[in-house]
Amino acid sequence: MATSSTDAPTAILVRDLVTHYGDREILHGIDMEVRQGEIMVIMGGSGSGKTTLLRHLLGLEKATSGSVQLLGRELTELDESGIYEVGKKIGVAFQSGALFSSMSVGENVMLPLVEHTRLDRETMEIMMRMKLEIVKLAGFEDLMPAELSGGMIKRAAFARAVVMDPVVLFADEPSAGLDPVVSRSLDELILNLRDALGMTIVVVTHELESAFNIADRITMLDQGNILTIGTVDDVRSSDNVRVQHLLNRCFEEEVLDPDAYLARLVGEGRRA
């Protein structure tokens, strides 16, 4: 699976990242590096700090201490306009899709082009349709987000995330809440985007199967610490007990599996 070499330039460099919410320390000195052209999957259970780490990588949170470098820019030292400049070189597919409900799918995908380029409308529409074709949503540009299924919303979010041909693409829980078939098709989409457009991709997920399908390397977080970083084989063969516990999905099924969670809720309701 791995396509990036260890001597590829660094796209993201995190050093000793510590962050607090109020009194509580959420990340306890994270160190990680993402090389250009690789797919790095950040995974961990609920409350492990993976979403917080992602928000730091996007410049949406201020760290208590430490360093986050994205494409050579130190995010912790950038002001608002600096963050916006870096924002033009990255794409983000949010967990909820975060499509603007008042805009059609096509307008959503075109928004970064409208905001950051001086292309004429026709060119922007051509680019929008190309990206929708990549995510297999050609012909859906006139629909509103409310008319799309969960999987289609995620695909449209990917189309918007890559419309500016970003250097780095971030995806937050791309498979969450989707059935296995749609989930697998999104994994293929991520791999295609890397192969076709040569992007560096960072995926945050708690889905083991998805992670193993797409990852060049995996960063496994546990309670705000890095448990392990390595290739899929490294992680699979890790002799760390906690890593094996997470791989065996004990924690995941108990807390995060939607069916198990719903079944538990129904059960509690009956008991009450």
Partner: protein, 273 residues
């Protein structure tokens, strides 16, 4: 850092609750003021910073805030105008001065009731819609999406609403002035047998540009209040759909309260001789 919970007596807890609410209110006012400052900054500097405020969203907001509100504003303004005429004739009839109702209606509507009722209506209609939209967008990570796309949310979301409100609320007040005075005129004509053209002549003779401006100045202040309160309440959302419902209600309550208080202060400061 969350402040520690107090386990003191009931009066102490009451004082603490009042203190917390006051702090929250001051925080919201500060956020609203920052929002107005930021909006002015992006409106003026947006082009230079590569974040231009586009006319299309402003027109869309003007349509939603202004044009679509015309029927309800018309209905309420006419009703209030007629009510004022009914009460005025009833009160003045005790002194045999029914024809003086034109004075009360003309000044009352243009200086007070047209801006107040329009402001309250728009706070309930558009202020709540702004809060609901901002709340939903925050929960759906749409604000985060804007930021990581390099789009300033204030410039993209707040400025079009504020500009549209600043244009349409005074325009609606002028419309409310006209239709309420006409509604009152129709009632007065029928009740007192006054010729409609005489009523119109008397009204125009009585009113000065200052009276109209008095109402319009207030409507500009109301426009800023409705927008900033709607946005500030919407941005403070916590939780899911329930949280959106809560901030929407807050926006209406806060907006109407702010409008009524401001109206009183404005009248006190500018009308007292």
């Amino acid at each position: 850092m969350a402040p520690p919970e107090t386990s003191g007596s009931a009066p102490l807890r009451f004082v603490e609750a009042v203190g917390r609410s006051t702090l929250r209110a001051v925080e919201q006012v500060g956020f609203g003021a920052t929002l107005v400052g930021d909006s002015a900054y992006w409106l003026i500097m947006g082009r230079r910073r590569g974040q231009v405020v586009r006319p299309q969203p402003v027109f869309a907001e003007m349509m939603e805030i202004g044009i679509r509100a015309i029927p309800i504003v018309t209905m309420l303004a006419v009703t209030i105008g007629i009510m004022l005429a009914i009460q005025g004739i009833y009160q003045l009839s005790r002194f045999g001065a029914e024809t003086q109702v034109v004075v009360g209606v003309a000044f009352g509507m243009t200086r007070e009731f047209a801006p107040l009722i329009t402001g309250i209506l728009i706070a309930g209609r558009s202020g709540s819609a702004l809060a609901a939209r901002l709340g939903t967008m925050t929960i759906n990570q749409e604000i985060d999406a804007l930021e990581v796309m390099g789009v300033n949310p204030t410039r993209f979301l707040v400025v079009p609403s504020l500009v549209a409100m600043l244009i349409m609320l005074p325009a609606l007040v002028v419309w409310a002035d006209i239709v309420s005075l006409l509604g009152a005129g129709l009632y007065i004509s029928a009740e007192l047998g006054m010729n409609m053209s005489t009523y119109v002549d008397q009204t125009l003779e009585l009113l000065s540009a200052g009276d109209l401006l008095h109402g319009l100045e207030k409507s500009l202040i109301f426009a800023v209040l409705i927008t900033t309160i709607g946005i500030a309440d919407g941005a403070s959302v916590e939780g899911g759909a329930e949280g959106v419902g809560r901030v929407t209600t807050n926006a209406v309550v806060h907006g109407i309260t702010a409008i009524v208080l401001t109206d009183m202060i404005f009248a006190f400061a500018t009308t007292r001789s």
